[in-house]
Symmetry: C2
Subunit: 328 residues, 2 copies
């Protein structure tokens, strides 16, 4: 049997963390022959609840789940961990301004970045899900000086998968028929879901759907999908967000299929004119726990303007927390 | 690609149904090469919520999920379905007596039995999860005269898996090291979790743990585990119940491993002196969507008395709803 991988989930008593823990323990993330050890890291007030999650995990008798550690101590939660999935974040409360939200979370994620730097495996891979995800990932990465910036990512895979679902629905195909979906930018209302490179059973998407449909219906629907779910369920997306985490990490580790790519928010290297350093969602290919930004895609004026708008927003978010970033 | 299987889930907007739908759609139940069509059947008041579940399922871009049908019409929900997983049930409200609970649910499950009889595939397999599960399954089966009683089961797999988890924990082994766990009887406080036949890495469990531990600690803990989870989480078991559904159906369809068995509540054929006809949890082996009750296990006096107590309870439950059972 392989050596178990250690997976840390923060906010594991929350709706997304709860949905995720069982998927990981079942083998969905790393495959049916890879044992896992789960570390569920919560805030002190949620420890009773996370103990219940731990009991339910034991009650599943998952053959691949070798151990579950429940803790509110990040030194224990991140110790030698191979994967850190940062879901727990301060939610926006009523009357709170976005600036305050960013600052409050900056404190959490700078502390977690330091803890990961100090305690995690030096080959750890980090996925930030808690919002504002891109900027939280930037803060965490900036506070982990001994790790490579490429070990930190933020999640836009839910937007990516939502886009696949919408386009499959519109073109009356299966999601497996669609390749080269792209989410650009920030995981926020400025995100740009781009079907300009999509192939549907090998046919360019824009031979099947109009640009007007993309601009007037598809893009705003993806941007507002979270609100649509809340309206229907009375609760925010949980199982679909957890599923996107599974997909993000699985593809990062096991690789993307040949001829296709996925969307991940990663440190910009200046590709496509995006400010170096900000965490920006790009199309990426993955292999063996590493990613490469897909190069050379052509962007028309509309697309270009969308990327710039998201880049502007990310630079603005960064300016709010500039003083929390270590001086370089 | 294989022909998709149709899976109907009732109560899909509830906590267990919500956790289950995504596991099924991901391929956890029928394997990675078996497409599925989900039918989510809900009561009219839950249709908005189940629409949200449908949206989230679309948002996951599951390659195996060919279609999702959302309905409050059982003629649509069960039409030609291959698997009916009956989770939705009337919960016990404050001050309600158990007799009333049984009667209220008897109405729901007799109607569902008739609908399954009339609309489902004639090879349908039915799993009842909603409580009182054994008696609900009896009512459903009794109202489906064109189907074989062996097509109906109730779930004791959560109790089975909980027992594996506890014994693995106690003996400091992995659940995969343990075989021949058995849950006898009703999915209620009279259930009898029996480790008398268990092998732990091939060694009889009672060479590793004492009978006193089993009687004083293990059995009552399993019987009360649901309450323990509610106390910790503030919510009843959901993901672990959904996982038990996945295990129950997967093993029924794909078969139990050689040398091992699982626990399922099935129509008694008189084995072990249990009243013929009641739905009683037995050790069973499965192969190709069929089960056989394991025969010839020796039961000491203690075990015998436990089986009889659960049998008595089930006959009493049946007497409450006798008039709803078709005359034979």
């Amino acid at each position: 049997m392989k050596t178990p991988v250690k997976v840390t989930i923060t906010g594991a008593a929350g709706h997304i963390g709860y949905a995720l823990a069982f998927r990981v323990a079942s083998g969905a993330m790393f495959g049916p022959d890879q044992p896992v050890i789960l570390r569920l890291l919560e805030i002190p007030q949620a420890m009773s609840s996370v103990h219940g999650v731990g009991m339910e995990l034991e009650d599943c008798a998952f053959p691949l789940l070798y151990d579950v550690v429940l803790t509110d101590d990040s030194a224990i939660g991140f110790r030698e961990t191979d994967y850190a999935i940062l879901i727990g974040a301060k939610p926006r409360s009523k009357g709170m301004e976005r600036k305050d939200l960013i600052e409050e979370n900056a404190k959490i994620f700078s502390a977690q970045g330091r803890a990961i730097n100090n305690y995690a495996s030096d080959q750890v891979r980090v996925l930030v899900v808690g919002n504002p995800a891109n900027t939280n990932a930037l803060i965490a990465a900036s506070n982990a000086p001994d790790l490579d910036r490429k070990q930190f990512t933020a999640m836009t895979r839910l937007d990516h998968n939502r886009s696949l679902g919408r386009l499959a629905n519109k073109t009356n195909t299966l999601v497996a028929d669609i390749t080269r979906m792209t989410i650009w930018g920030n995981h926020s209302m400025t995100q740009y879901p781009d079907i300009g490179n999509c192939l549907v059973k090998g046919t360019p998407a824009f031979e099947l759907v109009s640009r007007d449909w993309a601009i007037d219906h598809f893009i705003p629907r993806i941007q507002r999908r979270g609100a649509e779910i809340i309206e229907a369920r009375g609760l925010s997306s949980a199982a679909s967000a957890a599923d996107a985490v599974v997909d993000h990490v699985r593809d990062w580790v096991l690789g993307t299929p040949s001829g296709d790519w996925v969307s991940m928010a990663v440190a910009s290297d200046g590709s496509y004119g995006i400010e170096e350093g900000v965490m920006f969602s790009f199309p990426v290919t993955c292999e063996n726990r590493d990613y490469e930004i897909v190069q050379g895609l052509e962007l028309d004026e509309f697309s270009q303007s969308r990327l710039m708008a998201s880049d502007r927003e990310l630079r603005k978010e960064r300016s709010v927390i500039e003083e929390l970033l270590p001086k370089t």
